[in-house]
């Protein structure tokens, strides 16, 4: 398999030459789920405080963030300076995407072990941290971005002596990706940790509140907490009390944190309230739970649920039991009893489509979707529950990447089942204006997820992965040591792979095909042709050569001699299968000539194997027909001809007639001449 692993480039890129990443000096306080941080040196500006983030190839980065803020850095936030591919020696030499960030040198406000920075005090927390976050949020939200990675361990003093505080970067992993449950606002926290989505601006303020609370108590409040119990506590008591464990925070900072950690979106503090708080005009909003309470508790799996969000979560996480339970209920009566404020219209009943168990009451194919519909009814602004998954549609790209990293095809198949217009229409009807983004988010996803069920080359789950996460590098095992972020990089990597003896039938690698189909434009026709030729190696290889030739021309790539050679070798069966000996020799000679040149496009312009194959097949068929015709004629001619044969008789009698006529003419002539 070593031949099938792409070697890393021999030299460093220009980026790699400029920055030196010191892998022996890791900076774990800047690590994220998307990569590891190391000390770095800018060779052009050695005094600059920077660190390098070596990105993980399985976690998509927030590219839009880099594009928006690279040239417009945000104050009080760690900003990206530059990024590029670099050869890094971590567990062997690898080519990885590295981003250079500004480095705050004052240290994290809270270390990973939970100890607070010695310089942190109430005043610095109240003014420095809040003000820093407020400034950063203002810039981010103005650009339409959310941070969603605010954690007590990701707030830093700007320098050893400065009181300025900066918040950590949010670019190296998807928003809210695998954040601790406690640090996520309730509307997103109920979703699974890899699929919470970008969320809204209030989510950042909640995270700030939770962070301040942790810093105030000097504890990682999420550590050692059971998720189920914490959900119960957060819903029943409110996130502020649940996280603090019943401890109140007196004074102004307590008011701020309570406001920021409000679970109801319309009660949660935003920039305006925080500014008011700075000016001493704080409005102490009280959180209320009344809107989510049911009029009558519902017993499910031995637990009495009063809050409909908790019931939705319990149903969603136990879909089989929930389906059996829902089917056993007289659903309309249950709704009218438990939700007296809810108008249970005929339309809603039709959308929910809850059918009681009939006969033996076994599971039905629609059960998971029925449970999802009931969950959406119970918690319209909450996550979408399906087959035990709790997800937001905005988080599906990150979930897909996570599933591929874990090779969890079961979950991905479940996600594809969501592409059901009837089901989504029902969900939109049920949630109504309480989840207004659902329809638009689904429309954006549906056309991409449709690729997933196809087994065709260039489509399938791999295509969905790259369509949803265009920034993700090609995840083919062949490229495990290199970073393939664009078609150009792929072409060059394939040349190196070919030089190492690998790359045979490269387009049959579903990741490579899907990556090309996703990153290329107007390639559907090429991939349809390739898919049609999958069972014919000779034709497939010639189409592969044409495909790479087209890419080389389109991308204006330099000569790729090794890839060309590999493709020419790949064409050998196609050449061998040519029936016409002269054509075979001619094509072979032309291929040998092109082999070392490195210009793949010439394979199609000067030879065009597909056309040659088609012409050869057509002429061979004509030759076969001619042979059959000749054989038939030969068989006919090989028969012994006797005077009794009709043809012989006809010709014989005609000959006799002619002879008699000549005889008559001669006698006539002689008679008249004599006379």
């Amino acid at each position: 398999m070593s031949g099938e692993t792409t070697p890393i480039p021999s030299g460093q890129s220009a980026f790699g030459d400029r920055y030196e990443v010191i892998t022996s000096l890791p900076l774990p306080e800047f690590d994220s789920h998307g990569g590891d941080a190391f000390k770095a040196v800018d060779k052009k500006n050695k005094s600059a405080d920077i660190f390098a983030m070596v990105h993980s190839p399985t976690v998509p980065i927030r590219n839009e963030f880099y594009n928006a803020f690279k040239s417009n850095p945000i104050v009080n936030m760690i900003n990206p300076i530059d990024r590029g591919l670099m050869n890094i020696a971590i567990n062997g030499n690898k080519q990885r995407l590295v981003t250079i960030f500004t480095r705050p040198t004052g240290g994290a406000l809270m270390k990973e072990d939970g100890t607070l920075h010695p310089r942190l005090n109430a005043a610095r927390l109240r003014e420095g941290a809040v003000l820093a976050a407020l400034k950063a949020f203002a810039a981010l939200h103005k650009a339409g971005q959310t941070h969603r990675m605010v954690k007590p361990t990701r707030l830093y003093f700007a320098s050893e002596k400065s009181d300025d505080i900066v918040i950590g970067e949010c670019y190296s992993a998807p928003a809210g990706y695998k954040n601790p449950f406690a640090l996520e606002p309730l509307e997103l926290a109920l979703a699974d940790d890899a699929v919470r989505g970008p969320g809204d601006f209030p989510a950042d303020y909640y995270q700030l509140g939770a962070t301040l609370q942790c810093l105030h108590f000097g504890e990682k409040l999420w550590q050692g907490r059971n998720r189920t119990n914490l959900i119960m506590a957060r819903i029943n008591q409110g996130s502020y009390w649940a996280l603090s464990g019943g401890r109140d925070i007196p004074g102004a900072i307590g008011t701020l944190i309570r406001g920021l950690m409000a679970d109801e979106l319309d009660e949660r503090w935003g920039a305006e309230e925080v500014l008011d708080w700075f000016e001493g005009l704080s409005k102490n909003k009280r959180t209320g739970m009344a809107s989510w309470s049911m009029n009558k508790p519902t017993n499910f799996m031995g637990v009495a649920y009063v809050d409909r969000r908790l019931l939705a979560h319990a149903f969603g996480k136990n879909p089989k039991d929930a389906a059996a339970y829902i089917k056993s209920l007289d659903f309309p009566s249950w709704v009218q009893t438990a939700f007296r404020d809810e108008i249970y219209s005929e339309r809603l009943e039709y959308s929910l489509d809850v059918r009681p168990s009939e006969g033996y009451g076994g599971p039905r194919a629609d059960d998971p979707k029925m449970v999802a519909r009931v969950c959406a009814f119970l918690h319209p602004s909450g996550p979408l529950y399906y087959k035990g998954l709790a997800l937001t549609l905005g988080g599906i790209p990150a979930l897909f990447a996570d599933c591929f990293a874990r090779d969890d095809r079961e979950t991905m198949t479940m996600l594809l089942e969501l592409v059901d217009t009837k089901f989504i229409t029902a969900l939109v009807e049920i949630t109504g204006d309480r989840n207004p983004k659902l329809q638009s988010q689904f429309s954006a996803l549906a056309s991409i997820l449709e690729h997933g069920s196809s087994t065709q080359l260039g489509r399938g789950l791999e295509r969905v992965l790259y369509e949803l996460n265009p920034i993700l590098p090609c995840a083919s095992l062949r490229f495990r040591n290199v970073w393939i972020g664009s078609m150009l990089q792929m072409m060059r990597a394939l040349d190196r792979l070919s030089s190492a003896g690998g790359g045979k039938n490269i387009l049959l690698d579903r990741h490579v095909a899907a990556f090309c189909a996703s990153h290329g434009t107007d390639m559907e026709r090429e991939f349809n042709n390739l898919a049609a030729a999958q069972s014919n190696p000779a034709r497939f290889n010639s189409l592969t050569a044409e495909f790479f030739g087209m890419l080389q021309t389109r991308l204006k790539v330099e000569a790729l001699p090794h890839l060309t050679e590999k493709l020419v070798i790949g064409l050998t069966p196609a050449v061998r299968n040519l029936k016409n000996k002269k054509r075979r020799e001619h094509v072979q000679a032309a291929l040998e000539k092109l082999k070392k040149g490195g210009d793949i496009s010439k394979l199609s312009t000067e030879i065009n194997m597909s056309k040659v194959q088609a012409l050869d097949a057509r002429e061979f068929s004509q030759a076969c027909n001619l042979v059959a015709k000749l054989d038939k004629e030969k068989a006919r001619l090989s028969k012994k001809i006797t005077p009794a044969d009709a043809e012989a008789r006809k010709k014989g009698f005609m000959g006799a007639l002619m002879a008699a006529m000549v005889f008559f003419a001669m006698v006539s002539l002689m008679t008249f001449v004599k006379g």
């Binding site: 591929f404 990293a405 090779d407 791999e462 995840a475 083919s476 095992l477 495990r480 039938n505 049959l508 690698d509 579903r510 990741h511 999958q534 069972s535 190696p537 497939f540 069966p573 299968n577 029936k579 016409n580 000996k581 061979f620 030759a623 076969c624 001619l626 042979v627 059959a628 000749l630 054989d631 004629e633 030969k634 001619l637 012994k640 001809i641 006797t642 005077p643 009709a646 043809e647 012989a648 008789r649 006809k650 010709k651 014989g652 009698f653 005609m654 000959g655 006799a656 007639l657 002879a659 008699a660 006529m661 005889f663 008559f664 001669m666 006698v667 006539s668 008679t671 004599k674 006379g675």
Partner: protein, 183 residues
């Protein structure tokens, strides 16, 4: 009320095969014969001896025209007719010039040998013609077979033995549809 045709069908459900109606072919020799008789009658008004000599001399042809069966009847009759006519033509000169010579000519055995012998030549030509034709055709076929073999050889040289349709396709059938391992 049941239709008669329906009843017929019910009684005799098996349809009789429909054979194409045989058309009697109008033989060319018939037309020729009629024209010949008209000409002969016309000639009898001016030269009755000549007409008589022709009628007697051409007798083998007339007999053949009336008795011949099978295919190529007209060709056979015409060839005998030409040969026979040549024999008659030789004898007709004297009688045409001098009608009184008819009796002398008619009793002479040479006259009959010449006229009917010529008809015999026509018969002989009809007998030998197909034989010669068969021999010639056989020879031509052999030449054509040689040419076909050469043409096939050229095709084999260009396309290989596969063009003869005898060689099996030795290309290995590879299942490329198998999904490769994913990470």
């Amino acid at each position: 009320m049941v239709k008669k045709s329906t009843l017929k069908k019910a009684v005799n459900p098996i349809k009789k095969p429909i054979y194409p109606r045989r058309r009697r072919r109008q033989s060319d020799s018939n037309i020729g014969g009629v024209l010949f008789i008209i000409g002969l009658v016309f000639l009898a008004f001016f030269k009755p001896e000549v007409a008589m000599l022709i009628a007697l001399g051409i007798l083998p042809t007339i007999v053949l025209g009336l008795t011949a069966k099978g295919t190529f009847k007209s060709e056979r009759t015409i060839s005998v007719g030409f040969a026979n006519s040549a024999g008659v033509l030789v004898m007709i000169g004297d009688v045409w010039a001098n009608g009184a010579a008819f009796e002398r000519v008619i009793v002479s055995p040479n006259t009959w040998i010449i006229m009917w012998g010529a008809a015999g030549v026509g018969y002989a030509l009809n007998y030998v013609g197909p034989m010669i034709a068969a021999m010639v055709m056989q020879g031509l076929s052999q030449d054509r077979i040689k040419s076909i073999n050469q043409q096939k050889q050229e095709l084999v040289e260009l396309w290989g033995h596969e063009v003869l349709g005898k060689e099996e396709d030795k290309t290995p059938k590879v299942n490329l549809l198998k999904r490769p391992p994913t990470r």
